[in-house]
């Protein structure tokens, strides 16, 4: 099952270099522990006895093919789905919404089309809290669009508004469910930089689900590969930020991980053709 993991691990440790920057850590940042976590839908076991610990302020990327269970993992950590078995702890205890603030960005922006940009950002907030909306919009560079309807914005701008909406709540945990996958390459790069900068400044825990290995290598402290409901790979990348994609070691790591994912697929395909 864990074939080639040694090579990838070795490569990852080569990539690790001394990082002098002391990263800001949010006072709200949360640690997450999954203990023997399983999730079944009917007879179908989507997550199998997952053991995973996410440190406070860590940027963790979860990758995997469609149907591997990575989205289920995200939904469980978000509190949208419940575990069938096992435990999920936020700062060593079950979810307490008064201390742990989880926000989320989706693949689609999920802005309310009937609210102006600024009202989308301050959704659910009142008074002083809502006044922060302007500052957050400024942070994502969209203050000039605050009185526009979301439908007049480009896809990238809409995702920025969604990011602002997630940030205004001062998240302990920011969940990113493939939020950049629908964007064009340039906008995606821009957004990656923006997310990285904001995360570095605010220091909340971040979980990014993506099928873009390059994005994961570029942004994450740690990459988890979910395969068939198991953790197939768990590697730490401590390269200094901002990372250059041209860095040959990063490129090699990306290649290795891709190989690792694709080999699994080719193997299963060839098995099938044999059985035919």
């Amino acid at each position: 099952m864990y074939f080639k993991i040694n090579e990838v691990d070795k490569l990852a440790s080569e990539v690790i270099t001394e990082n002098d920057d002391v990263k800001q850590l949010s006072p709200h940042a949360v640690q997450i522990d999954l203990l023997h976590a399983s999730k079944s839908f009917g007879k179908n076991k989507v997550l199998k006895e997952i053991q995973l610990s996410i440190e406070k302020g860590q940027f963790i990327a979860v990758i995997g093919k469609s149907g591997s269970g990575k989205s289920t993992l995200l939904r469980i950590i978000a509190g949208l789905d419940k575990l069938s078995e096992g435990e999920l702890l936020y700062n060593h205890s079950p979810l307490d919404e008064s201390t742990v603030n989880i926000t989320m960005m989706y693949q689609d922006s999920r802005l309310l089309p009937w609210k102006k940009v600024i009202d989308n950002v301050s959704l659910g907030l009142e008074g002083k809290e809502a006044e922060k909306a302007e500052r957050v919009l400024e942070a994502v560079g969209l203050i000039d669009f605050k009185d526009e309807w979301p439908s007049t914005l480009s896809g990238g701008q809409q995702q920025r508004v969604a990011l602002a909406r997630a940030l205004i709540h001062e998240p302990s945990l920011l969940l990113l469910d493939e939020p950049l996958s629908a964007l064009d390459a340039f906008t995606r790069l821009e957004m990656q930089n923006l997310i990285e900068t904001i995360w570095s400044n605010l220091g909340f825990t971040t979980l990014l689900v993506t099928h873009d290995v390059r994005e994961a290598v570029r942004l994450a402290d740690r990459i988890i590969l979910i395969e068939d409901g198991n953790i197939g790979l768990d590697i730490t990348i401590a390269n200094p930020r901002p990372r250059q994609l041209s860095d040959p070691k990063l490129a090699l790591l990306e290649e290795e991980i891709l190989q690792r994912i694709m080999n699994g697929e080719m193997k299963s395909v060839s098995e099938k053709s044999v059985s035919l």
Binding site: L80, E97, L112, L123
Partner: protein, 254 residues
């Protein structure tokens, strides 16, 4: 593209030709003036009825019935639509019953309604209530059920619950569909009123028409029909205006 005066004129060309043709044929005496009164004679009787204040009274009486029926029926349909849209339990208890009543053509109840409510105002209002209730119910219900579940999930993620979730996400999401219901109901409202006003009465556009029939005043009958059409158009315009205001976030209403 800027509309020139000619562009704006275009839709009115054919109606004008028809009207002028009608006037020419009527005044040439080819057809009987009693059966096919000329547009001019219709205008003259409209003028006379307006001066005497009679027309205004009739219009107000009809508008009152239509409005009251619309408000009561609309409210009932809206409340049940929201309730059943939000709660599966309420849906299971009431929807089948509502659908059974909906499938009875409400105008067929006319004789029964007269027996129950007599020939007074309540029978007419009741029929309108019955007519407008269902389009509003069905469209409100579907509007609530078809709100993008992604948006609802997002709202819950941001801790919107109960009234806040309803006010910020469910109701605005259902609004385009609710407006479809309102506009459809307005059509049903006038249709029902026309039938309901054939129940003997002393006032209203329907009375004006029935009374004119007794005396073979075809010009007044035609006038009544035109007023019904104008009122229907007016109601639709009002609904459209509301749509434009409340749904201006939606490209298709801008």
């Amino acid at each position: 593209m800027k509309e020139t005066w000619y562009d704006e004129l275009q839709p009115w060309i054919i109606p004008s030709i028809l009207l002028i043709g009608w006037q020419v044929i009527a005044s040439s005496g080819v057809v009987s003036e009693t059966l096919f009164p000329s547009p001019l004679s219709v205008i003259v009787s409209a003028w006379e009825l307006t001066i005497s204040g009679e027309l205004f009274n009739h219009i107000m009486a009809s508008l009152g019935r239509a409005g009251l029926g619309m408000i009561i029926g609309g409210a009932i349909g809206f409340i049940f639509g929201i309730l059943n849209g939000l709660s599966n339990k309420a849906y299971r208890y009431t929807d089948t019953t509502i659908q059974m009543i909906r499938n009875v053509p409400h105008l067929a109840l006319l004789p029964l309604v007269i027996v129950w409510f007599g020939i007074g105002e309540s029978s007419k209002v009741f029929l309108v209530v019955l007519g407008v209730l269902f389009p509003i119910y069905v469209n409100t219900f579907h509007g609530i059920r078809n709100v993008n579940p992604g948006l609802v999930e997002m709202g819950k993620m941001y801790k919107l619950k109960g009234w806040k979730l309803f006010k910020n996400i469910l109701l605005p999401g259902a609004l385009p569909s609710i407006f479809v219901g309102i506009r459809y109901a307005l059509g049903v409202m006038w249709l029902t009123l026309i039938i309901a006003e054939t129940i003997p009465t002393q006032v209203g556009i329907g009375y004006l028409a029935t009374n004119a029939r007794e005396f073979m005043q075809t010009d007044i009958i035609i006038l009544s029909i035109i007023i019904y059409a104008l009122l229907g158009k007016l109601a639709d315009l009002t609904a459209r205006f509301g749509e434009k205001r409340l749904l201006k976030w939606n490209e298709s209403y801008r």
